[in-house]
Amino acid sequence: MNIKKNIATSENGFIFNPATGDSFSANEIATEILQAMKNGDTELQIKNKLLEKYEVSPEQLNRDWEDWMAQLKEANLLET
């Protein structure tokens, strides 16, 4: 799943969906992941970077990733 191309993000975690006017605040890690997704990194690439950078097990990361994608979908930020 790819993030919509027109989604605007800022370095401090502000997310704006220009199609709907919805805005969200993301924490530091979410901002980092969003930026990677916008840059076109694959799910595998992003997960590997997170595993390298943070103390998290692959199982936990996968669970968190599912939750993350569900939130993005709910917020209407993913390409359909």
């Binding site: 605007a8 704006f16 220009p18 199609a19 006017g21």
Partner: protein, 351 residues
């Protein structure tokens, strides 16, 4: 250029006049633009706003009729040499359209829709309008009696929207409450009152400008972020959505709309765009169009004065407006001057 502008009631349910003037000031400045306010009541805040209106004249209410308006504008024109008049209230448009040819003969330009265009988008005709041109419009019924209301509520279910003929609307959740709203709105705005199916969704408004030949000069959609208890946007943000732009362009091309307009849209959970209302003039938030790069009032003024205006190509998305309240201080003598003599030049006593 000397421009007459109505709609100076910059209150919690504001007329568009001050936003129109601010947009014109942005485009034409202070020195080359004289704004003649056309006010109905002495407590319209715009009358007392320095930097906006140069002088305000009282004009007769629309119910006084066409002749009274024409006569008053002639008196004002003799003194001020108006180049253009921009009326901003739904209820005054009928009269202004009627006298537009004689205003033109006096040398006062207008840029208004026709009576036919005005009628077709009227709340009373909106449902038929939607069917004719293929727009999604919520089912509605015209209500003249309690019995009509009961029948309509059985078909529409609750909640339902009860709308005044010209202004105001409320969402009602029972027949008792709907009847109260019906009586209140009919007493204030006359019959019929309109009931409309309630659509749950996101409120989006579109400000637009048509050239009268089917071309859309400008379209700016705005998502309401803060809505007052009167249903007015107190804050909003420009958004980009090709479906919204296409909808507005279709409206202009189908109707050959001339002048400013506002489409009030509800986008439901499935993304369906319902036209809830079509206002035949600029909205009170029209300054956002200027701030976002499509100064609609200035473009209208240019077209009215005979300039060729090309359609705008883009606008800034994510431009936010937040309305605010401000206690403007004036001298009671100015209030008296306007109340007693029907005109007030700003600047002599105002600070």
């Amino acid at each position: 250029m000397v421009v007459g502008v109505t709609g100076l009631n910059a209150n919690d349910n504001p007329g568009p006049g001050i936003a129109v003037i601010r947009s014109l000031r942005d485009a034409f400045g202070q020195d080359d633009l004289k704004i003649i306010g056309l006010g109905y009541e002495p407590l319209e805040p715009g009358i007392y706003l320095p930097g906006m209106v140069d002088k305000t004249y009282q004009v007769p209410f629309p119910t006084a009729g066409v002749a009274a308006l024409e006569e008053r504008l002639k008196v004002i024109h003799d003194k001020e040499k108006l180049d253009l008049v921009i009326p901003n209230f739904d209820s005054e448009l009928f009269n202004f359209i009627r006298i537009a040819p004689s205003l033109n003969a006096m040398g006062i330009k207008t840029f208004l829709p026709t009576h036919e265009q005005l009628d077709m988008r009227d709340k009373i005709n909106l449902s038929d309008f939607g069917k004719k041109y293929g727009f999604s419009v919520p089912d509605d019924f015209k209500i003249y009696t309690n019995s009509d209301l009961k029948k309509a509520s059985e078909k529409l279910g609750f909640p339902l929207v009860v709308k005044g003929k010209y202004y105001e609307a409320s969402v009602e959740y029972s027949l008792d409450l709907a009847e109260k709203a019906f009586h209140r709105l009919s007493a204030k705005w006359g019959l019929p009152v309109i009931t409309q199916r309630f659509i749950k969704g996101i409120e989006i408004n579109i400000a637009g400008l048509g050239d009268g030949m089917g071309n859309t000069i400008s379209v700016v959609p705005m998502r309401k972020l803060y809505i007052t208890d009167k249903g007015k946007a107190w804050a909003g943000v420009t958004i980009e959505d090709e479906k919204l732009i296409a909808l507005a362009k279709k409206f202009v091309s189908e109707t050959k709309w001339k002048g400013g307009f506002e489409l009030e849209i509800m986008r439901d959970a499935d993304g369906e765009l319902y036209i809830m209302e079509i206002n035949p003039r600029f909205p009170a938030w029209v300054y956002l169009t200027a701030a976002a790069g499509q100064n609609q009032p200035a473009a209208l003024a240019r077209m009215a004065m005979g300039e060729e205006v090309k359609p705008f190509a883009g606008y800034e998305v994510g431009k936010l407006f937040i309305r605010y309240s401000w206690d403007q201080v004036a001298d009671i003598a100015d209030f008296q001057q306007f109340s007693a003599f029907g005109e007030l030049p700003l600047g002599s006593r105002m600070k």
